[in-house]
Amino acid sequence: MLQEGFVRIFTFIDQYRGEGSLEGWVRRVIVHCCLKTVAKRKPSFAEIDEGVEDSAFHAAEVLSTLDAEQLLQLIAGLPDGYRLVFNLYVMEGYDHNEIASMLNISAGTSRSQLAKARALLRSKIENLQKLPNKYA
């Protein structure tokens, strides 16, 4: 995806008119390229019942011990729809209306997918608490 994104950047670099930051333009191109690739896989935005409840999170101490690679690993373990919305909302800073437009879903679905993604991540982190030797 990264490779394809850079190919697009070099192909359409002449379309960058110098308005705004180059970084923002590159980011937008990469994001759209990723979305295009993901769309080909037809990700499911169905809600997955994994017995996760969106309850108060009590494993902050575990969270603080995780490094970036471990967090990325946790995100990568999310179902496609959850991961897509989580990345766009949390990491890229898009709001639900923008995400809904980009993914051709409703804003409500986007909210729901994000909530489920958070809940699943919390669940995974809490499970890590039970395996202190592995991540401590």
Partner: protein, 361 residues
């Protein structure tokens, strides 16, 4: 931890993070860019081929131009008897002319003018002999009354006569309207193309430069008086598009056309065709649906059978015809598929049916 804090934690922790980039990333990006250039080149090349074939089909006039011979009124005033040819019957004339005008291909009478009663048939006397014969049979009754057939006047460019002149052995002026007939024209040539009712395709896919290169072997069958055999190659060039070309041989019996002289003879047309098509197909899971369109260019055409010598003056190509086919393919497992391709082609529309063997998907 609240939602916002949770999100912010991920944001902060991953903000400065960067994953290592593979060492060969730049080479891969460069390679991809080159691939895209190659796609453009393929399209330019394909478009050029189609354009060239269209131009060639339009301007390539191989062989002798054929025109419709209309009713011709010929006036002649001469006294054949005074020139020493009087008294000859039609049969006499035949012998005489053959000796003079070189029906056997000798142009001995070329220099003779119409005024002396021995107008030469030109250098193409042999080519026009069958027409001479046809008209002679019509006027045989006249010939018996001490008239004779004058030789044919040289036609346009000396290729063939405009008309056959009937002369009587008298000094009277005679006016005759000769038989009208139609020589095979370009439209007739198109009728050489077959109507295919059945078609069996065998397809082999090979992979070149990580892209599928399907090789298609077409074997045609037809219950009518036409039969075909050929090879087609389909090369994917971009996304779901492919360029299709190949070579095919077509054999068609003479069309039965009462307005044409060709119905009086037996024989068949042989054709070597070059298809230049663009194919587009969409994967549907259970099969494919696609459209093939372009031109089928007749490279060479010749006449076979008993009457081959009569039609050797025909153009050596039947020209170009448009082709539009809808390819419907249903997979039968991993290797075989069933397909039907209804198609339109000038004077040769039909439906191709058959099995397709896929060596590699």
């Amino acid at each position: 931890m609240r939602e916002k804090e949770f999100d912010q934690f991920f944001r902060d922790r991953l903000a400065g993070h960067s994953s290592p980039v593979p060492e060969d990333m730049w080479q891969r990006i460069q390679g991809k860019k080159d691939d895209r250039k190659a796609f453009v080149l393929w399209w330019v090349l394909g478009g050029g081929l189609v354009l060239a074939s269209l131009l060639a089909g339009r301007f390539w006039k191989a062989g002798v131009p054929v025109e419709k011979v209309a009713k011709t009124t010929e006036k002649t005033r001469e006294n054949v008897g005074s020139k020493g040819a009087g008294g000859k019957t039609g049969a006499d004339r035949t012998a005489g002319v053959e000796g003079k005008s070189g029906v056997e291909g000798k142009a001995g009478a070329n220099g003779k003018s119409g005024a002396d009663g021995k107008v030469g048939a030109g250098s193409d006397a042999a080519r026009s002999q069958h027409r001479d014969d046809a008209v002679r049979s019509e006027h045989r009754g006249h010939a018996s009354r001490s008239g004779h057939w004058g030789d044919e006047k040289p036609g346009i460019s000396g290729v063939r006569p405009k008309a056959v002149v009937w002369r009587e052995d008298s000094s009277r002026t005679v006016e005759r309207v000769h038989k009208t007939w139609t020589l095979p024209g370009r439209a007739d040539m198109k009728k050489r193309l077959p109507v295919r009712a059945g078609e069996l395709k065998v397809r082999k896919d090979i992979t070149i430069q990580k892209k599928k290169r399907p090789i298609t072997l077409d074997l045609y069958v037809s219950p009518s008086n036409a039969s075909n055999a050929g090879v087609r190659v389909a090369v994917p060039v971009w996304k779901d598009f492919s360029l299709i070309t190949g070579l095919q041989y077509t054999r068609v019996g003479f069309p039965r056309d009462r307005d044409s002289v060709i119905h009086i003879s037996s024989g068949h047309f042989n054709n070597i065709d070059l298809p230049l098509l663009v194919g587009y197909s969409r994967e549907l899971g259970w099969g494919k649906i696609g459209v093939n369109t372009g031109v089928i260019f007749n490279l060479h055409s010749w006449v076979g059978g008993d009457s081959a010598t009569l039609y050797r003056y025909l153009p050596k190509t039947a020209g170009t015809s448009w082709y539009l086919g809808v390819d419907l393919e249903k997979y039968l497992g991993r290797k075989w598929s069933l397909f039907a391709e209804p198609y339109y082609r000038y004077q040769a529309s039909g439906v191709s049916l058959g099995f397709r063997y896929i060596f590699k998907k």
